[in-house]
């Protein structure tokens, strides 16, 4: 199923979203298959976790059903039970033998809107984006649990385009979802800001996921 996440629903974390979907399925009386064992869990898998605070029109998940069901029936039953901010976009039946959804998704496309601290920063950020894409690598260091890890952000950003709106700057980027580790769109923007350097306010960067792609980018990508 393909779903959109908007409004206050963007403050639902990935784990909480999985639980919210599980509950919606139960409210909709959709017979879900459960895992075996100590603590049976519904067979529900998401393509890619979305960062807390981001909106999306391309959240995908698969669910194993205990009883077969028409996708149109599934859709109308579930739609009525989804909390505000979550919306069904597409439902289709897939064979249950395929590889996991998470493993098959390779690239994510994001639209990132940045509130500018000063009007002059627009051109500077625009130029920074150009320099970033021309460089051969751009290493970010990330600290987690006391350890520092280095990530080449440039390698993971396959496309970065800018579009100017009234008092904001809009970016569109394709990011490679490398199973070894990927980069968040906000980290890319922070890296650009650091190149200038300017400081962006908290909440100045808003991320919206537009699409997920199963293959490396061919322009226009599939769903």
């Amino acid at each position: 199923m393909k779903m959109a996440k908007s409004g206050d629903a963007r403050w639902i974390s990935h784990l909480d979203l999985m639980r919210a979907i599980e509950r919606a399925l139960r409210r909709a009386h959709i017979g879900v298959a459960y895992s075996q064992g100590y603590n049976p869990l519904p067979r529900l898998s998401f393509a890619s976790a979305l960062a807390l605070g981001s909106t999306s029109e391309a959240e995908y998940f698969e669910v194993d059903l205990a009883r077969p069901m028409l996708s149109t029936c599934f859709r109308s039953a579930l739609e009525k039970q989804l909390p505000p901010g979550l919306e069904v976009r597409e439902v289709c039946e897939v064979p249950s033998t395929g590889a996991s959804l998470a493993a098959s998704v390779k690239v994510a496309t994001y639209r990132v809107t940045v509130d500018l601290p000063a009007p002059g920063d627009r051109a500077a950020l625009h130029r920074a984006a150009g320099r970033f894409m021309k460089s051969s690598s751009h290493t970010l260091s990330r600290r987690r649990e006391g350890k520092t890890r280095l990530v080449d952000a440039r390698r993971l950003v396959q496309r970065l385009e800018t579009r100017e709106e009234r008092d904001v700057l809009e970016f569109e980027m394709d990011i490679f979802l490398d199973p070894q580790g990927t980069v968040k769109p906000e980290e890319v923007i922070a890296a650009l800001a650091e190149m200038i350097p300017i400081t962006l306010a908290f909440g100045a960067v808003r991320t919206h996921r537009i699409a997920l792609h199963r293959t490396m980018i061919e322009k226009g990508g599939d769903g």
Partner: protein, 636 residues
């Protein structure tokens, strides 16, 4: 001018990325009730002075939310204590405390109802008033401010909060809350001409409503309460607790709010009965929720189905003070597991007695999902358990653990208290013996093969509570409590996972549990010094409390460590739980003689006084006879 809801929303947008778990503050959950404020007369902010995940787990608040929102004239919205990071953001940005549903500032509501579950939330209650930009003192608020109402178990001694509260509801609020809202609505319709004092006088006339400002208190030279009484005519001398007589006729929420965040009790709850007459002498809940009133099994099953349909929860909890005491518990659990198991829903029993019967029940509920087992023997020896009237024998416990281990459990949690009246070294030794016995039983059952036993033991200092037979008793001194903790720490095997309830925190709790109005200044002082979330040991800072007591001239030992005389006027004597003070004293004497008092469900009436005030409760006729035969051995 206070900010409008949409400007609250705009500012909130900027704050949310900066705080942990923003979903605590967004509202908009499934089943949340959002009403058009232009279509109602009364806006009721229902506040819980704890963090969202705890507040959302409280069944009583869900019941009131449902009761109030069923009124066409009222919109009830939720408020929780913002965590310290959010408080900092609210204060920095100048955003006032708002209700989750509409994001409207709390100060614009007609009533702010605060649930008082625990003394250590008192600082949060003050903080809610301040974050809402309301004057802390009731005397400084006027008709344009929300009426500040409190309820919950701490309403049975709200004296330390007396100057901050307009009115207090004593007992079960689901009926009396409507009378309070009606009075507020009439008051609002008359508008202009009337003052806050007029409304308060009117509220004081409602049975079960206590208006602290209408009573005068004097203290003697010995620091004890000297007199307590109403300031004028029409104000009752004593306030009687309210309770509903028939649980089947009482409403139960059928569409409770489903949180996104994982809450403490993240499950659908059906209240199967209210009250407990086991009569544990330390337990306040066992006194203030009497008598026992059961919901019929048919109604429980209907509610279970409704709740899962409306929430989609994967777990159904049968809520009660002691779930295994429900008359039809076996049949009910079996039929619920049959009814709900098919859609992946498990049943859980939050409160089990330490006997084999209860383990049998736990076995039933494990058919879908396996959880841990928790027992609360409370004390280490039979003698001390007789003192506190916790009728669990060594044999009960042994059988319970044996049965649990035979049925595949390998994780068990035991709860104990230390510092109980008459406790001596041999009782502490007995506690250690019980733990070793548990390990021994596990070795016997498993023959030393298979998984290692995971035994967790939690030990809390005893805090004497009002309206219990121990309300006159001193709490152990801090030094003595710490001494007993270290005595146990040296003797309990290291492989046991031990958790201790902070003795300093229990000490402050004991001061406020039996406090009087003079404590209000210390409370305001400690709040001003930054005390918040004092029930969280990482937020609690004893030095701050000690300093606040010193600055306001409060001697904590006077409240915590003093043994009261039989005829001492107690600060909560005017609040009538329905249980007679003479019964409590009789129970105190039986405690010191180590005489157990059996449960009146299976033995003779104990004469506690609750049923005398009204006809005996209904709704249990289908259970009583049967359980008299099979379960009498479980009591005593």
């Amino acid at each position: 001018m206070p900010p409008r809801p949409d400007s609250v929303a705009d500012t909130l947008e900027k704050l949310l990325p900066r705080v942990t778990r923003p979903a605590r503050y967004t509202g908009g959950e499934w089943n949340a009730v959002r009403k058009d404020h232009r279509m109602v007369e009364i806006l009721f902010a229902l506040a819980f002075p704890e963090v969202y995940e705890i507040g959302m787990s409280h069944l009583g608040s869900l019941i009131l939310y449902d009761e109030l929102n069923r009124r066409e004239d009222t919109a009830c919205e939720r408020v929780y204590a913002p965590w310290v990071d959010m408080e900092a953001e609210l204060r920095r940005s100048g955003l006032p405390l708002f209700a989750l549903e509409s994001r409207r500032p709390v100060a614009e509501f007609d009533i702010l109802g605060i649930s008082l579950q625990y003394e250590m939330n008192f600082t949060n209650a003050l903080n809610l008033l301040d974050l809402a930009r309301l004057p802390l003192l009731a005397a400084e608020r006027h008709a344009g401010h929300p009426l500040v109402l409190a309820g919950g178990p701490c309403a049975f001694n709200p004296e330390p909060l007396a100057p901050f509260l307009d009115a207090v509801v004593l007992g079960e609020a689901e009926e009396v809350i409507h009378e309070v809202v009606d009075a507020c609505r009439e008051d609002k319709r008359r508008a202009g001409a009337r003052s806050r004092t007029d409304l308060l006088r009117q509220l004081a006339a409602i049975p079960g409503v206590y208006v602290p400002s209408l009573y005068r208190v004097t203290y003697g030279p010995d620091g004890k309460l000297a007199t307590f009484g109403p300031t004028g005519p029409g104000v009752p001398e004593r306030i009687s607790r309210r309770w509903v007589s028939d649980l089947d006729r009482a409403h139960h929420p059928q569409r409770p709010v489903v949180p996104y965040l994982e809450t403490v009790h993240d499950r659908a709850m059906v209240e199967i009965f209210r009250g407990c007459t086991r009569g544990c002498r330390f337990c306040q809940a066992g006194a203030i929720y009497r008598p026992v009133r059961e919901r019929s099994p048919a109604r429980v099953r209907d509610l279970a189905r409704c709740l899962i349909d409306a929430t989609g929860h994967q777990e159904l909890s049968l809520a009660a003070l002691s779930a295994s005491d429900y008359s039809a518990i076996e049949d009910t659990v079996r039929s619920l597991v049959d009814q709900e198991g098919g859609r992946g829903v498990g049943v859980s029993l939050p409160s089990l007695r330490a006997d084999a019967f209860s383990v049998g029940l736990a076995q039933q509920v494990q058919r879908v999902r396996k959880t841990g087992l928790t027992f609360a023997p409370e004390a280490g020896t039979r003698r001390l358990r007789d003192v506190i009237n916790k009728g669990v024998t060594e044999q009960d416990l042994r059988e319970a653990m044996e049965s649990a281990f035979r049925n595949g459990w390998h994780a068990v949690k035991l709860y104990f208290m230390i510092g109980l009246p008459t406790e001596g070294r041999e009782d502490l030794d007995g506690l250690v013996d019980l733990i070793r016995e548990g390990e021994g039983v596990y070795r016997e059952v498993t023959g030393g093969k298979g998984r290692q036993l995971k035994l967790a033991v939690s030990i809390s200092p005893f805090v004497p509570k009002t309206h219990t037979p121990f309300q006159w008793e001193p709490q152990c001194s801090l030094e003595e409590l710490e001494e007993r903790q270290s005595y146990l720490r040296r003797r309990i095997p290291r492989r046991v996972r031990l958790s201790w309830h902070d003795a300093h925190l229990s000490r402050v709790e004991a001061v406020f549990a039996r406090g009087d109005r003079r404590l209000a200044r210390a409370l305001a002082e400690v709040w001003a010094m930054g005390a918040r979330f004092d029930s969280w040991s990482e937020q609690f800072d004893y030095r701050r409390w000690r300093e606040a007591f010193a600055r306001t001239g409060i001697e904590p030992a006077h409240y915590a460590e003093r043994c009261r005389d039989r005829d001492e006027l107690l600060p909560w004597d005017h609040l009538d739980s329905g249980v007679d003070k003479s019964f409590l004293w009789r129970e105190r004497e039986r405690a010191f003689a180590a005489l157990p008092t059996p449960d009146c469900r299976w033995a003779a009436c104990t004469g506690c006084g609750v049923c005398g005030t009204r006809a005996a409760p209904t709704g249990e006729s289908w259970g009583k006879a049967r359980r008299g035969e099979d379960r009498s051995s479980a009591s005593g």
